[in-house]
């Protein structure tokens, strides 16, 4: 019962949280003295970036590690890694877009050669590279192993992105929402709205991941039906 309840609630809860974020972010919270209405992007951009870096890329990396470890090796892990990486591309692109939209009025440019921005873009190319690597190999097992290794190598970029603001003094905001010792710097309504947005986008990721995974499974099921057909056809080849 509960086992079925959770996935079924995932979609509605996500929608409610995102709607709540929109309502709180657009109507309830105040304008900022300096940034004006632009500050409302704070309810989108950090949450999307968080999902892109840690939740989705992290899921892909963990699944890859689990695939490579002999005891937990299974096609499920490979599929999860693949699907999470695809969703990750979406969130990285969203991070870049929301960041650019925010950057245009605040920094006066759509793009700057800031360490965080560049490394985020490189992470996007790496995610695309992962998908390209998958395409380049036909053999299922080899593809799974190679892409898992690559995902892990690519994940080194995530901490680099995170610390880039400290290592290179840059344009991009430093850690403003959470400081190193995990205390919230912003207070009141804004903090709650932020929390809701983080939750909402995180759930959105899992929702998308689940949808993508099911698509993959049904695709594979269709494939295995066609494989069975191919098998009978092949056997018939020898019949005459």
């Amino acid at each position: 019962m509960t086992k079925q309840l959770f996935p079924r609630l995932l979609g509605p809860v996500t929608l409610v949280l995102l709607a709540l974020t929109a309502w709180l972010g657009l109507w309830v919270t105040p304008r900022d003295a300096v940034q004006g209405n632009l500050v409302r992007l704070v309810y989108v951009h950090p949450a999307v970036a968080w999902v892109a870096l840690y939740v989705s890329f992290g899921t892909a990396t963990i699944a890859s590690v689990l695939y490579l470890w002999k005891r937990t090796r299974s096609i499920v892990m490979d599929r999860v890694a693949h699907c999470a990486m695809e969703v990750s591309v979406v969130f990285i692109v969203l991070t870049l877009i929301t960041g650019s939209i925010w950057g245009r009025p605040t920094w006066g440019v759509w793009w700057a050669w800031d360490a965080r921005l560049t490394s985020t873009a490189i992470l996007g190319v790496l995610a695309l590279g992962y998908l390209a690597l998958r395409r380049a190999n036909d053999d299922q097992a080899l593809r799974a192993r190679r892409s898992a290794v690559f995902a892990i190598l690519a994940a080194i970029n995530v901490p680099i992105i995170h610390f880039s603001v400290d290592w290179w003094k840059t344009l991009h905001q430093g850690a403003t929402v959470f400081t190193a010792n995990r205390t919230l710097l912003i207070h009141g309504l804004m903090a709650w709205t932020l929390l809701v947005s983080f939750l909402g986008f995180t759930l959105l990721f899992f929702w998308l991941l689940r949808a993508r995974y099911r698509l993959e499974v049904s695709r594979e099921r269709a494939l295995s039906v066609s494989l069975d057909e191919a098998l009978t056809l092949r056997r018939r080849e020898g019949a005459f």
Partner: protein, 219 residues
């Protein structure tokens, strides 16, 4: 209690897919140690694919199989490959190295004394080409180099894909003699071929493939 030695090859309903196409569509096969089998069948029947499966060069997609004690589904295919001697359609060496250097590499990799190289080369009749680089060899000479490489191997399981192709008469005679020696030495040999073997003395088991399955089995 154990009456018979375990078979070297034991496949049960083995299926191999490549790019959605079934190369093998359910093969059942048992081969004992020290046996010689010839696999025949029309073009595209799956002979090469069967040999590749036995050599651990492709993975099993369905069914079960054990070769030389290694489980094809869950075992370490690299272990298997070490014990297999493979001769493919095309010669398989470093093109830029000479005959001698190729064989030295193989001997070192296998931990064999390099003293065995000269006799192997002489046996396949490449003495006067020993310092020619592999890419300059003719088709039959490449095949002979492959045989010399196999001679160094002393594998448990020999997989030979159309070994006769592009060998001349003398080469085929020599090859038949070699097969006899190998089988007598206790190794298992699987040969794919379109013609029956030359030497009647070998009396192999003949497996006929069609559509990725075994449809005939005559010993």
């Amino acid at each position: 209690m154990p009456d018979a030695p375990p078979p070297v090859v034991a496949l049960h309903d083995a299926v191999v897919f490549a790019g959605g196409f079934p190369l093998l569509s359910g093969v059942d096969l048992d081969l004992g140690a020290g046996t010689l089998s010839v696999v025949t069948g029309a073009n595209g029947a799956g002979k090469t694919s069967l040999l590749r499966l036995l050599g651990g060069l492709v993975a099993l997609s369905g069914g079960t199989g054990t070769v030389a004690g290694v489980d094809l589904g869950s075992g370490d295919l690299r272990q298997l490959r070490r014990r297999v001697g493979w001769l493919g359609h095309e010669g398989s060496f470093y093109d830029d190295l000479s005959v001698r250097e190729n064989l030295t590499f193989a001997a070192r990799a296998l931990g064999r004394p390099t003293g065995e190289i000269a006799p192997a080369v002489a046996r396949v009749g490449l003495e006067h080409r020993i310092d020619t680089s592999a890419k300059q060899l003719s088709a039959g000479q490449r095949r002979r180099l492959g045989l010399a490489w196999l001679l160094l191997r002393r594998a448990e399981l020999w997989l030979l894909d159309e070994p006769y192709a592009s060998l001349d008469d003398e080469g085929r005679t020599f090859f038949d003699a070699l097969l006899g020696d190998v089988v007598a030495g206790g190794a298992t040999v699987v040969v794919s071929a379109h013609d029956p073997l030359r030497s009647a003395a070998l009396a192999p088991r003949t497996l006929t493939l069609a559509g990725g399955r075994i449809v005939g089995d005559v010993s």
